[in-house]
Amino acid sequence: MNGHLTPPIHAGWAWQFSWLNLSAADLIVVGLMVVVFVLAIVIPFPDHKGGDDE
């Protein structure tokens, strides 16, 4: 492409700030992490009834 190298890595569309290169994939992963974190806090843990401990 016009004789200069292009990165072989195609992370797709990305925001470019001076030191930050944030792709849509990055944002989706961070969003997923927040969702999983909130779910882990909110969803009640099944209690093990019938176990021999008190």
Binding site: P8, I9, I41, F45
Partner: protein, 211 residues
């Protein structure tokens, strides 16, 4: 009694990490939350990383870049990395939110950070070990950044043999040792108590006063 290294080691182990603490069969009720599973999910991802990585190392790049089964193991290795960092970061958030360094657990916290930092270097050396244009590109693009720090003098990211050796042996070993220490510390101290809930304390106090 005469001094005896074996005996003093046994007594030290018995005192610092008795079997009931190393392999407990019950946990405090506050551990009944999914938040406490992020650490072990990170361990699970690491186990998959080691299994798939071993298969990749045995058969080599001509296999993992060409054969369908090779692609499968390559993908398994790649997605295990994603799960590993995904759960490690969630684990870090969870420990941060509950200030899990309390009660003398600072070395568990610091060890966790060391694990995080070593894992990042393991990820970098992994990208450099792919044996394709991606890894060449990363090596050539990254060398200037590494050299500008001075680390390039002994950590040469264009030296494939060095990066591959670090990736498949040295760094996994460091992670395994740090993880063993991390988990032993968790067992020694027990799971950290939840942060004090101001309201609950007042409630309990009132109840006690009424009785």
């Amino acid at each position: 009694m005469k001094k005896n290294m074996t005996r003093s080691l046994r007594l030290w182990v018995q005192n610092t990490l008795p079997m009931e603490n190393l392999l407990p069969d019950s946990m405090p009720s506050y551990v009944d939350s999914y938040v406490y599973l992020f650490g072990i999910l990170t361990v699970a991802a690491l186990v998959w990383l080691i299994i798939t990585g071993t298969v990749l190392a045995i058969f080599g790049p001509e296999w993992w870049h060409v054969s369908p089964v090779g692609h499968f193991f390559n993908s398994m290795h790649f997605w295990s990395v994603q799960a590993f960092f995904f759960f490690m970061v969630l684990h870090l958030w969870a420990q941060f939110m509950m200030a899990a360094w309390r009660g003398g657990r600072h070395w568990t916290w610091i060890g966790g950070w060391l694990l995080f930092l070593v894992s990042i270097v393991a990820g970098l050396t992994g990208y450099l070990s792919q044996n394709n244009f991606d890894s060449q590109w990363i090596g050539v693009q990254g060398k200037d950044a590494i050299n500008s720090t001075g680390i390039g003098g002994f950590f040469n990211i264009l030296n494939f043999g060095q990066m591959y050796g670090l990736h498949i042996f040295v760094l996994p070993m460091v992670i395994i040792v740090l993880l063993a220490i991390h988990l032993m510390l968790v067992r020694m101290h027990g799971v950290v108590e939840p942060l004090p809930n101001g309201k609950e304390e007042v409630d309990n106090g009132e109840k006690v006063a009424e009785q």
